[in-house]
Symmetry: C3
């Protein structure tokens, strides 16, 4: 790990130095773990106390005045600044060009000379690997796939035939792209598979977390728009169309033909029934079970989903429901007594 | 892709031609994407408008009279007919017989000469691969497994020792069959593992989606019955017995020793506590948390589960609960006032 | 499989023989499947009837007096005794020392001579494999990882760079340890990735189920304490700190920075929002959505979580809510009639 001055760091992340700009920083650590040559990061106001107790040589924070006597790199958005500083200290790994001696590249595949193909990787016939792409150990690429320039496929990623990844797409280990969608026709003599002959198309700058699955479309393309971020163990059903800059948190499951608008955010373990549209900028709280279309910009929660406001009130009352129900029983008893008592 | 006449297509799927039976069809596309030499598919009544706007040369539909002036292949069950037509245009891949030069087949394994073993596959001692089976890249098969004739294991499937797959079973990438069940004995000095020495047995024509897991039984067999279809990221706990023609949608989780009757359908993200019986033909709505036995034919919803009818009414009232609770408070206040007012 | 006398078996598991201690036992089977030379296992009182019908030669049970006329190995904790007996009949597989000819061990990796490295495994530069460790087929180990003595990594496990596993850790197939945490800074021009430069550290005697994921920390370590057991398809978000002897059942999802105290038990499909503390010994029922800190020893249920007692009462009333709401409407109508009627 390299060392940088506080001034270098501020320059890199567009921050402002308060204190000793010449201080050499050799590491980036949490507030608890940081020492005098480390920079640390104050995410939220409630971390101020931790920051005061921290031995960090410098702090990355929104407001230096809350950290009197400290060397601070002041940044309007400390999370974004942290990203920039981490990129400075830990530059992204770039491709080590060449094909590992153990890899299998089928005839008719085209690997850019600047790309890296790791040990035991398999590249199918007709598949094209773009400039600077990294295909790590045990990645299995089917036939007629396209891997965009600068994409990175971590070990054990699987692409079925005909999957397209845009530039700089990052796919984590264990991800399966293009497995058959779950399409069957029930018949009196059993369940008949509907062949899934479409593909999967993922636009640039998408990141897909470990062991997630995006199934191929029945006829056309399951699509993921540019800049979308998908966490671990997420399932995207066949024919779904995910917009740009969408966030799908861990273990989200979208049944088939779900449309998710740009900038939507689905929290962990959210499920969506098939053939629904979740509007642009919509949000769903953790574990929400979305059973109807969600209007753009709306926040929903609960199973089946309610508006967030409605859900919070309903769940607060649910907790008091035993009491409420007892009150109803008492009122009823009293009402009956009264009616019987008043001829 | 080959070309077929509309008449060929109708013959293949048992449909009836209305219009130009001689029209050459070269592709099968969605209503939106189809052109004049494509066949498209009208799934439901509500797609009639899309169908009217479609440029498709021919339609596969239930009722030609709803598509006046169009060439239609009329079929009583369009989904089933689509499956047949897709099989015509996209014949299933068959084994390319032989063992890839990089695969490791341990001594004492028996691979049928008509089977295909892909690059970097590992076939353990005593494992038998049936006629025409396809074992793709990086598949790891333990010892004493049986792969039925015509089975297909996509890249990166893992079978632990002693797993049996019937004829034509299709297993998608990342699936793990036969990992140890989650069995422990809590003791004062910590949690002690109960060795899981049973197996997993999957009958013919089962399909298992990407990254799903079926754990081995403690002593006997975790079983999946013929024709059952399992979606992605599903977990089947140890000792479970899944019947025939069951449907387990994405991210379903069955704890240990769950019995699921023939023809049951569990929607996405359903969970079942252990040691339960879900009767034949039972259904569970998405995200249902099944905590008790479910009678055959019953439909359940909610956590803990209610009958579907009960659940829909309860959830509708839940949404109105804040209002109801307010009404109760008012009635109570009024009742008190009255009681105080009437000596 | 070897054979042991009932007396041997009792000695091994600290049990007491009632009946024929000399009987030779050749197998351990379920009550239904066992024959005269098998031992079977009576888990709970309600299995007594099954036990009576069983053909098992001997029973492992808590109380021999409930099984008159049978040969019984009486043990205070039959589950724990079963674990010991299974270990006797099915000794754990030990390492077959050596590196498979197809494995890739990068220069600068250190593999203990007593460890086993399977076919197509990849061991990155600077990674150390401890004595007696088993690294099975297709395992991909990044750089600077540490695998403790006696650890076992089943086929297709992936460790990113800098992951540490303690002694005897068992990791099932498809597990991904150390993938990037889901950390982003939203900016007006899109979502910017916060590099995840910390690691994952798993203490001794942990077991991790198939296809689970533990993400690397942003700066420090995502931690799992000794003896903790994690089921299949579980997600542990970045910066989380899981205590000792914790149980995470199938498909549990912990968002980032979750702290889980020693001995906590989260049932299947439980989710926890980020930055929460779940106290030591706390329990959560299946599918609970934990949205707040949970005090030590508390049992919670529902989404958002309530105390278990509160939840059971609330859910029982939820089922009756349509009736309760109807009663409220009637009371209201009656109250209005009365008010109108009384001038």
């Amino acid at each position: 790990m390299s060392a940088f001055s506080v001034a270098d760091i501020a320059a890199r992340c567009g921050g402002r130095v308060v204190g000793d700009g010449g201080l050499r920083i050799t590491g980036i650590r949490s507030l608890e773990a940081a020492g005098p040559s480390d920079l640390s990061f104050v995410a939220e106001g409630k971390a101020d106390k931790k920051a005061a107790a921290s031995k960090a040589g410098a702090l990355l924070a929104r407001d230096a005045s809350r950290h009197p006597g400290r060397t601070v790199v002041e940044a309007a958005d400390p999370s974004f600044a942290l990203a920039a500083v981490l990129d400075l200290f830990f530059p992204r790994r770039t491709a080590r060009p060449g094909v590992h001696g153990t890899a299998v590249v089928e005839p008719g595949a085209a690997v850019d000379p600047s790309a890296e193909i790791g040990p035991f990787a398999v590249v199918g016939e007709g598949t094209r690997i773009g400039a600077g792409a990294i295909v790590e150990a045990h990645v299995a690429l089917g036939r007629h796939c396209t891997i965009g320039p600068g994409a990175r496929l971590h070990p054990h990623v699987v692409l079925y035939d005909g999957v397209t990844l845009g530039a700089r797409v990052e796919v984590h280990s264990g991800v399966v792209l293009g497995a058959d969608g779950f399409g069957y026709a029930p018949t009196p003599s059993g369940i008949v598979k509907v062949p899934q002959v479409g593909g999967v198309s993922v636009d640039e700058d998408v990141e897909i977390g470990a062991n997630s699955c995006i199934d191929r479309a029945t006829l056309e393309q399951t699509r993921v728009g540019a800049g979308t971020k998908i966490d671990d163990l997420v399932m995207v059903g066949h024919n779904s169309v995910i917009g740009r800059h969408v966030i799908l948190c861990g273990q989200v499951g979208l049944a088939g033909s779900t449309v998710v608008g740009d900038g939507a955010v689905l929290a962990g373990q959210v499920g969506a029934a098939g053939h629904l549209t979740i509007g642009a900028g919509a949000k769903a709280g953790a574990q929400t079970g979305i059973a109807h279309d969600v209007p753009a910009g709306e926040t929903v929660f609960g199973t089946p989903e309610m508006s967030h406001r409605e859900a919070l009130r309903a769940f607060a009352e649910l907790r008091r429901l035993p009491e409420t129900a007892r009150a109803v029983r008492e009122l009823r008893a009293r009402s009956r007594t009264r009616e019987e008592g008043t001829p």
